[in-house]
Amino acid sequence: MTARDRVAEAVVTGVGTVAAPAGTPLDEPWFDYRARLGPRGYRYLPDACQYLLAAAKGALVRSGEDLTGSTDPAEDSTAPLVGFAEERRAAVIGTNSAVAALHADIAETVRAGEINRLSPMLTPFFSVNLVASRLSTEHRLKGFNTTVTSPRVAGLEALHVAACELTAGRSDVALAGVTEAFDPGHGTAAAEAGAVVLMLRPPADAVRPGSALLRTSLRFVPPAALAREAGRRRADREVREALEALVGLGPAPERVRLVTDGSAVAAAVGATVQDWSTGRVLLSVETPGARAGALAPMELVARDLRAGAAGAHLVVAVAGEGNVAFASVGPCRTA
C-alpha cells in the first residue's frame, strides 16, 4: 500500500451551492424553497433537505458548463442525468447537523408527554439518511445513496467515498456533497446552514473542457497519540504523506486552505501543513473557530471550483475527534 493508493480521483462536472446571505441569523427562516425548488412538494421537508435539493439542482443545471459560471446554464436540471441509467446514478452526502433541530423537537415533544403531536410528515426524517434519500427520489438515483457523518469532515468524506465508489464501478455518475441546518445545540461552536453539491464522474471518463479534477484523501490522528513522541511523529508523517501524494499526482497547488476547530489535533495537523507549505505554497487558515458541522470546507472547495484558477487548490479540514480530510481541485488533464 502506498500513499497514492489512499488518494481517490473524480471529475467534477457541476457545482451547486446554497448559502445564507452574510449576516443572516441562521435560526430564523432565510431560505425560500419556492423560489429555488418550486411551489409544490417541498414544504414538509426539513431545512437541510431543501438546501440539499436546491444545491443539487444547481450542480445539475451547471453540469457540463464552465464551472466558473461564465456560460448560460441549461434550464432543465434533469437533462444532465438523462444519459445515465437510473441504476447507475448515485448520491453520497455528508452531514453532521442536518436533523439536529428535528431531534431536539422530537425529544422535547416526547418529554412533554405529547408523542401523538409528532408530525407524520416530518418525523420519518429523524433518520438522517432520509435527507439524502430524498435526493434519490427527486432525480431517480437508484444506484446507491450513502450518508456519511464524521465530525466536521463529512462533506469531504462524502467526496472521497463517492470518488472511491465511482472508481470501483458501482456507479457512472454521483451527486456528492454536504448539507447542514441550524443546530440548536451548537453551543460555543458557530452554527452552519447551507449545502454544497458536486456532480462527479469517474476519472477515466472523457469530459468537456471546463470540468475540474478532484483528488481526495482521508487520514486519522488518534487524539491520544499526540501525547507520545512516536504518535506525534506518526501524525506528522501521515499529513505529509497525504500532501505529497496529492501534489505528486498533479500540478503543485497554488493555495492551501486549512479549516480547523481549535483542537489539539487541529494544532498538530496545522503545524505540519504550515511547515510543509512554507516556501512552497500560500497557506491560509480559514474559520479558525469551531463550527457545528461539515459545511465550511465544502464551501471552500466550491469557491475554488468557481474561481477556475489555472492551478490546483487544496482544502484540509481537521476535527478534534481525529478526522483529517484533504481535497484538491484543479484543471482536468483532458481540458
Partner: protein
C-alpha cells in the same frame, strides 16, 4: 480451507455485544437458546407508551466517557481486534468504518435537557472514538444509512481493501435504544407490542434492539497464514428512490441488489446455503422481502433455510447488517444454523422456510444476507464461510 487469492477480502476477527451477552460466545449461545424476550426500556417506557426493546444489560460496557452506542462499539471492537490477533503495528495502520443510525443522539438530548451543552457535541462520533481509542491512523469513516448503515460500511470496507487504501479494516455497526427513534417508530405505527416476530401472521411492527457487532476484514496478503472465518465474496447497494419509509412494492431494487451481490460473488442462487433476511417484523418489509426472495431463488426458495436473526436480538438498527455477518461467520465456524424462534403462525404471504425444530447442519456456508433501510437504501452481501 481454499487458498486465499489476491483480491479476496476475508474476515479474521469478530466482536459482539447484544442483549444475548457481552461477547461472541454469549451471542452464539443466546442464538442456540432461543429464549430472548424484549422488555420495557428503563426511563423510556414512561415516555413512549408500550415501548419494548431488546436491551444490553447494565454494566456490560463502561459508559462513563462515551454514550452507550460508542461504548458498545468499543467493547465489540476490542474483541474483534483481539480475536484477529492483530499486532500493534497492524492496529495502528488499520482503517475503521462504522455504521450507526442514531449515534449518540440520546446522550446529546439528555445533555441539552440538562443545560450541559457548552461545546458542540457531534452525534456521529462512534467511528472516530473507536479509531481514537484503538490508536488507528487508517481512514476513518462514519456511515449513517439507518438500518442498513453497517451494510454500507461493509461495502466501503471491502472497496477500501480492494483498491489498496487499507489492508486491514475494522468494520461494523453500533446503536443504542434511544428516545428519538423509539418515539418515531411508535408514532409511525411501526412498533410491535409483543416481540419482534418477522414473517409471523400476527406481526405488528419491529422491536428495537441494541449493541454492536464488529469484524476485522483483511486483504488476502495481510491475512496470509491467519485463521479466517470466511470471505466477503460479493456485495451490492441500491436505492428504491420511491418513498421515505415504505419499500417499493415492486421490490425491483431489492431483487437487483441481491442479484448483483451474487454476481460479484461469482455465485448462483443454487450456491446459497442460508439466507439471513432483513426481516424486521413490519408488515410490508417482510411481505416484500419474501416476494423478492421468491423472485431471486424461484422454486428453490422452499429449500433454502432462513435465519430470522431479529427475532432473537430485535432490530439493532445501524448494526443489524454487521450482526448478520457475525452470525454468518459463526454458522460457518460451528457448521450449523440454529433453530429459529418458533412462530405462532407463519404468514401465508411469506412462504419462506424458517426451520424451527432444531439446528440445521451445514456442510457448506454460503450465506446471502440483506439489510434494508428507511429511504429505500438497500444492501446485500454474500458471505462464503470457512470452518475455522
Amino acid at each position: 480451507m481454499k487458498d486465499l487469492t489476491s483480491g479476496d477480502v476475508v474476515v479474521t476477527g469478530l466482536g459482539a455485544v447484544s442483549c444475548l451477552g457481552a461477547d461472541v460466545d454469549a451471542f452464539w449461545s443466546g442464538l442456540r437458546a432461543a429464549d430472548s424476550r424484549p422488555e420495557p426500556p428503563p426511563g423510556l417506557a414512561e415516555l413512549v407508551p408500550g415501548a419494548l426493546s431488546y436491551r444490553v444489560a447494565d454494566g456490560v460496557t463502561e459508559t462513563d466517557r462515551y454514550g452507550r452506542a460508542t461504548a458498545f462499539a468499543l467493547h465489540a471492537a476490542r474483541q474483534a481486534v483481539a480475536d484477529a490477533a492483530l499486532t500493534g503495528e497492524e492496529i495502528a495502520d488499520m482503517a475503521v468504518v462504522i455504521g450507526t443510525a442514531a449515534g449518540e443522539t440520546s446522550e446529546r438530548e439528555a445533555a441539552r435537557d440538562g443545560g450541559g451543552l457548552d461545546a458542540w457535541a457531534p452525534v456521529f462520533r462512534v467511528s472516530s472514538a473507536v479509531g481514537g481509542e484503538l490508536g488507528s491512523f487508517g481512514s476513518n469513516i462514519s456511515v449513517s444509512n439507518a438500518c442498513a448503515a453497517s451494510g454500507y460500511a461493509l461495502t466501503l470496507a471491502i472497496d477500501l481493501v480492494r483498491r489498496g487504501e487499507a489492508q486491514t479494516v475494522l468494520v461494523g455497526g453500533a446503536d443504542a435504544v434511544a428516545t428519538v427513534p423509539l418515539a418515531a417508530f411508535s408514532r409511525l405505527g411501526a412498533s410491535d407490542p409483543v416481540r419482534c416476530r418477522p414473517f409471523d401472521a400476527g406481526r405488528r411492527g419491529t422491536v428495537f434492539g441494541e449493541g454492536a457487532a464488529m469484524l476485522v476484514v483483511r486483504s488476502a496478503e495481510a491475512a496470509a497464514g491467519r485463521p479466517v472465518y470466511g470471505r466477503l465474496l460479493g456485495t451490492a447497494l441500491s436505492c428504491d428512490a420511491h418513498h421515505p419509509t415504505a419499500p417499493d412494492p415492486t421490490g425491483d431494487q431489492l431483487v437487483r441488489v441481491a442479484r448483483e451481490a451474487l454476481r460479484e460473488a461469482g455465485q448462483e442462487p443454487a450456491d446459497i446455503d442460508v439466507v439471513i433476511p432483513h426481516g424486521t417484523g413490519t408488515d410490508r418489509n417482510d411481505a416484500v422481502e419474501a416476494q423478492v426472495l421468491g423472485e431471486v431463488f424461484g422454486e428453490r426458495l422452499s429449500g433454502v433455510p432462513l435465519f430470522s436473526l431479529k427475532a432473537f436480538i430485535g432490530h439493532t438498527a445501524g448494526s443489524a447488517a454487521a450482526f448478520s455477518t457475525v452470525c454468518a461467520a459463526l454458522m460457518a465456524r460451528h457448521g450449523e444454523m440454529p433453530a429459529n424462534i418458533a412462530l405462532e403462525r407463519q404468514d401465508p404471504d411469506c412462504p419462506v422456510w424458517l426451520p424451527q425444530t432444531g439446528p440445521t447442519p451445514l456442510t457448506r456456508t454460503n450465506v446471502l444476507l440483506n439489510a434494508y433501510a428507511f429511504g429505500g437504501n438497500n444492501f446485500s452481501l454474500v458471505f462464503g464461510g470457512e470452518r475455522r
